[in-house]
Symmetry: D2
Subunit: 488 residues, 4 copies
């Protein structure tokens, strides 16, 4: 299976159709598309200059299109990805992971958003079309899903991110944008892409890569950059084994003296000039499948101007169940640190819903967030993300967990249990105790259940029983049924 | 001021342009508009009849238009109506009162909805246009606000409900509906209007009035009906003093023998055939201002066929602050009784919002409902409706109250208090105790405040101090500031 | 390549997992899902029966979901399908073919519409999401595109219509509908599906097939039905060679006496009960790929109750370029015959656009339709469909043709030709003569061009020159450039 | 009747609560609201300054709110305003007049738009809510109609534009904008308001007035400005009799030497800083009713910094039927001059509609524009705006006219005329000749009618006969019936 993720230690393949040397000849021939925006006038510094020069860069909502990859790896967040792409996994009581990136775009005034998908794309398509079509995306704004498709010319699936962009270029070029912003859709962070675009345009780069400023434990598949004091990328490494990060002090030496370079970790975010994109995919590397591991190193090797844009904020790449769990715990920390789900100036968008307020007949709740439409019956909740429409029974205790909630109300519960005796309704039963677990959507947890990882297992696949354990965290599957009295 | 409410003990004015006797001659000449729907075929009972006759009534979404009056009395719910019409008052943590009636229409497949307003109409207009334009109202569906307007012919305000409908008839007749459904917009109940329409059409009535089956403490301005065993309305009384309700046993006596009649209380809901509406307003009673107290009695007096449609469910007419308070308390009772805010098959619609989930650093909550985006800090909440975006400080205690919440977050609280020292943020301060109160939107309740009606006052106007007391309930005004340490 | 079309002479494959005999035992065991709708009460015929029985069938908008296949055959309408699925081909000056079926659904009150696609799906997805998300589809209404996707369980493309439905059943069953309506998305006809649903429910069928009443020249891949006087389907044939149609007189003989049967042509439209669908795809024929040629015959063979619903109106299956051309010519006949693009009660929906009115500096126009935003300069137009944004130059003559129009205005024409001399703008140049041709979107036809099929060729592939000839009709490709003075 | 127009020679009323002298003391105390945007930093000119200073002005979509007055004078465009406000009059085959101004806002990235109305507001409200709620207005964007309303404090109608803004300030201040842009809603022009905002902010003005650069025949009620070489407004005159325009040469003299000033004509467009607005309406001139004639001169008299912004493009204020007629004729001139209805970069928005393309069985059309969904039957059309859904009968001749079209199709024409003999359908009958006329919506023009103003009347009120003549132009009223054979 080919997965549309912007990472992964794929083998680098640099069979450029052009001789690299030949390209290097015209070294640093910048394929800028911005020449028409009369950049030079900005540099004029004589008395004729207006006192308040206005940027002659066009506004990003007219000049940048985002390409979001909805799929991450299908396996590392399994079983949450059993029926979904990574971007469609519920997070933070009412969102989906992809909402973070789409909201970043909207809050950065980028309103031409293409989402390319093929793995378990249905959930993502459905979410994106419901969440973002009613939303005012402004003039000519849209979130358009492009699912992998067959055509007369090509009947296969997308073979990777570069292949996907290449095959969709005829759609992506619908609007006369000057840059494409390539984005992984399954990361959690808040960035104003306008600043990235600005830095890119000022440095007159061909490509700008957003990168983590510090030594982070990031997906090695995205690679590491070696940059000089002007943030120009000199080298780009993709390695399966991480080499130790060395961040040398910047000493102002201009040449390739190693001391003058520092290393950054790529975030898999690339801003690419429109004609550079076309040249790279169709002329220079027409066989390249992956953007991060093949096209970007190739671009550097041909002497293009590749810049780094350093980012310092919170960033989580959901590389494991444990990382996803931690990202949810960010909600609880709330206003203080990490990812802030509350930012009024850069709100997180998602599907608008017509849910009633949460009804609490009795609950002692600490350090938790609670979504809409829950029904909490005399329970205790601590350090937990309680997703929308969650029903929790009497005397249940939930600690340090992620409850994703439910898509529907099981209103006919009483009726049903009358009929079928032991039917377990959606939600969490009475007297049940859950600790450090992830309960996927629509799960039916019975009464007197203990989900506490009693044997302190680190990894275990008990899918037949409705759960797995990953990194010590119990994950109950979507729609799983955990019978009364079970102890996990 | 003329208020567009469908009630009120206005003097009955029956100066029909036609002699009543003259009209009575053609007694019970039913001005039915349904003749084109070939009703008679339904009554044929010979062997030719198809075995599964399908109703030849047209579906209500193509044949009924609703006329909703957004204004109630401006004074009885004061101060909640200071800047709003009754329909725009927040209720149930995230709704507005008018949502109940509009949602009834939508859930009854009535999707042509005109809302007529003039008193404090801005809040209502704004709410309706934001809440119901994004919503799928189906083919040719809309919620259209018709605010009072000046024209060359008439430069005054609407002089009452009948006057309002009369002046807007040219708009209301835009679609070829067969009946108009006249609805007060400030009542709380759940009714399937399709059943009302069905009963109306089967009885071939000119007008059908929805009425409370039992002896309720309803607004006397709506009047009482005397109906026979066929639910035909024989008399319609509007009295300021309520006469005792007598519900006689139905004895099959056809004549005006009092025993064969029973009394019902009008709900102010009228289903009126299209051409009957035109005749009543333009020909028979062109001077009538009020629909309930003038036009309806007039219609009966002219011998039109007026039917009653008995309704048994929960119904609240918000006739006082106390009644509004009780309606909110219905939310808490939740699934068990009264008005159910949770009905999946007949959901309550309102403005979709992009609020984060509620964050609870610590709370003991019993018998309460909590809206989206609240921030609850180690407080106790009992028997309370907590509206969206409510912030509650540490050690606060809220009991038996309605907190309407806030339109915005006061994110810069710390910064501000640093600047201004004593500034009180929106929300409820630390160590504050609130009991049996209504806190309107955006109020700023300081620290160590006691809102407990300590002297057990029943009525008091302390508007200058930011509150009034009505029926023993303290009502803190919208955006009011209650200083630290206040005792109310 | 596997194409999601509901037709095609695919080999019939009836390897039911269950013995057909075994199934026949419980012969005609109707798997009705409607038992909960208390059908029996409709048949009661005693004095207790209400005089106006209302159908107890639930309304279709709550009980039927449509499954539309956007792809037809990729090849028979080539080159119109070069970059599009059949459903996305422009027709009638401003529509796409799929609009006919989607509008049928909306006008039949079916508002849960799933569109399954995989071949050139991008154009269709884009059209559907832009056209039908702003449209009021009513409560719980949607047009949701499900593109072929990879999952852990299945990494291949949809292998046919049955395979596609099977793999998407988990999505399709999201709402508690009682029937699925399976629809080819590339046919042109106007049908009230509610009548089909009604007939289906009254006959208590498991499956109902819409069929052409007369002997039409329809796609043989849909098969022919042999039905008795009760419209029960006794046989279902799929043949590549059509056998002569015999429509015997109905003689009331109940048994398999051949005289009592007549033959109908399937339209590829199937109404299938929900649980019948599940059983057929997952239990009885889990290997079947095609719905029409495998699952339907299989259902009949197992003794299910399969009914025919005869349809008499205009219907066009676009089986060739010539048929597509004729369908466009229906627009011109306008109000009189064939397919009526104007029906006020059953309008044709499509993407709403903000185009200016058509500007005509001079034109003699006969028997034509003209879309929005055209610019017609002193030309002659006869018997032609002029699509939106078409520009026609001076003294051009267009006869009996289909001009699809353009997606954009080429506003900078003068500027460009000044710069580049010979650049040909989008549209049709001066002095050009076009007769019996189809000009696809954004084509650039130069000056003094003759597109008249001067040699009266029937079939010819001149794709390198920007056109093909099919059935004697010249088809100029999308974005093709036909130089000044060309003669085709 | 009080009309909400931003013009009219109302008596100037300058009873400022403050002594003008007193105010003058703190002369030119600029009440700028932009201090928070750190303007000063723009002026810093040392080496620390970044080489590419980005404007620190906030984007207009976050910082400017538009206040559009939908009403013009009710009488000057009578009878087109009989049932409509000026803004709601159809223009250009498919638009309403107000669309020009609203589209200007949207194309200028101003997406917070309040429309204040009271005269015949229904048509405008309905149009605005249908046209602009589906449209993507971007984050926090809206077109909100505020109709005149009664409140406890004020039960009268709006007494003028200043009164209307004053009473709605509590709504208008909902968002933290820095400037209000006050706009008449019934003018036809295309302006990028961003440039106006930019000029305003750079000059650090309190108020900026858009004004016509040349000596135009504009509404005298808007007044004339006397400006110096820095575009500062020194005087503002409102006169009923126009004084001759003198445009002196600018001689650099700073003082009030008349030679250094020039005169401009106000367009009634005012950009006002938020706190300036509040101070003017509530503190300085709390009794002023009109903005243009009272508040603006008052502001100048108090020494505020009032700038002029000169505008050179096409502008039409619809001051008469003749002017409205000419504005329509601009459509025909099309791409060449005047107002361009086609501008791709600044499109004109309006209600999206699902109309079929126009069907032409035969027509000779010159220099005309034709809307959607017309049916043109063997007629001649010259120099005419043919509005949507217009039906024109055989052998009719239409010249130099404005046909507004129809809201509905009269599909049952034949049926009806069969029944009623002489019924005249909506549209223009056979053999009818129309020249230099305006045919309002839904008019029914019979056969063999001559609307040619045969006696060359200039002014005539024949409303009883369905038309008036104004400026030599025959105006047939909305829904008027002109019998067969009439000669007008």
């Amino acid at each position: 299976m080919v997965v549309l993720q912007l990472s992964g230690p794929a083998p680098v393949n640099l069979q450029a159709k052009f001789s690299i040397l030949e390209l290097a000849h015209g070294s640093r021939k910048h394929l800028t598309t911005l020449s028409s925006f009369s950049l030079p006038s900005l540099f004029i510094s004589n008395s004729q200059q207006p006192r308040h020069p206005i940027s002659s860069f066009p506004p990003v909502n007219e000049s940048v299109a985002a390409i979001v990859f909805g799929d991450g790896s299908e396996s590392r967040l399994y079983p949450l990805t059993k029926r979904r792409s990574e971007g469609a996994i519920p997070i933070g009581a009412k969102y989906r992971i992809v909402d973070a990136v789409i909201s970043n775009c909207i809050n950065s005034n980028i309103n031409k958003i293409y989402a390319l998908t093929q793995y378990n794309s249905t959930s993502l398509n459905s979410h994106l079309s419901r969440a973002y079509t009613g939303l005012g995306l402004g003039k000519d704004g849209f979130v358009e899903v492009i699912a992998a498709y067959q055509s007369l010319e090509d009947q296969g699936w997308f073979q990777g991110t570069a292949d996907a962009i290449r095959r969709c270029l005829w759609v992506l070029e619908e609007y006369q944008v000057s840059e494409f912003l390539v984005l992984p859709g399954h990361h959690l962070y808040r960035m104003d892409y306008q600043k990235l675009v600005d830095a890119h345009r000022r440095s007159q780069a061909d490509i700008t890569i957003a990168a983590l400023n510090s030594t982070r434990d990031q997906d090695p598949g995205f690679g590491t950059l070696k940059v000089n004091s002007l943030n120009e990328v000199a080298e780009f490494h993709v390695k399966s084994e991480r080499e130790p990060m060395i961040v040398p002090s910047v000493q102002g030496v201009q040449a390739s003296n190693d001391n003058s370079y520092r290393k950054l970790s790529s975030m898999g975010i690339y801003l690419v000039n429109r004609d550079v994109m076309t040249k790279l995919l169709n002329e220079y590397f027409p066989q390249a499948n992956e953007f991060g591991t093949e096209v970007i190193p190739g671009a550097i090797s041909t002497g293009m101007k590749v810049q780094a844009y350093a980012f310092d904020g919170y960033w989580e790449d959901m590389r494991s169940i444990a990382a996803f769990y931690e990202a949810n715990m960010e909600c609880i920390k709330g206003l203080n640190m990490g990812y802030n789900f509350y930012d009024k100036d850069a709100p997180l968008y998602t599907t608008p819903r017509y849910l009633p307020p949460t009804t609490i007949t009795g609950a002692v709740i600490t350090d938790s967030v609670v979504g809409d439409g829950c029904i909490l019956n005399r329970c205790k909740i601590k350090g937990t993300v309680v997703g929308m429409r969650t029903t929790i029974g009497e005397k249940a205790i939930i600690e340090d967990s992620v409850i994703m909630g439910s898509d529907i109300y099981q209103k006919d519960y009483i009726q049903k249990s009358g009929k079928e005796g032991m039917a377990i309704p959606i939600g969490i039963g009475e007297d049940t105790h859950i600790k450090k677990a992830i309960i996927d959507k629509n799960a039916r947890i019975g009464r007197n259940v203990m989900i506490i990882n009693k044997d302190n297992v680190q990894e275990s696949n008990r899918e037949a029983n409705g759960y797995i354990i990953s990194g010590g965290i119990v994950v109950v599957l979507e729609s799983a049924v955990i019978p009364d009295g079970s102890i996990l």
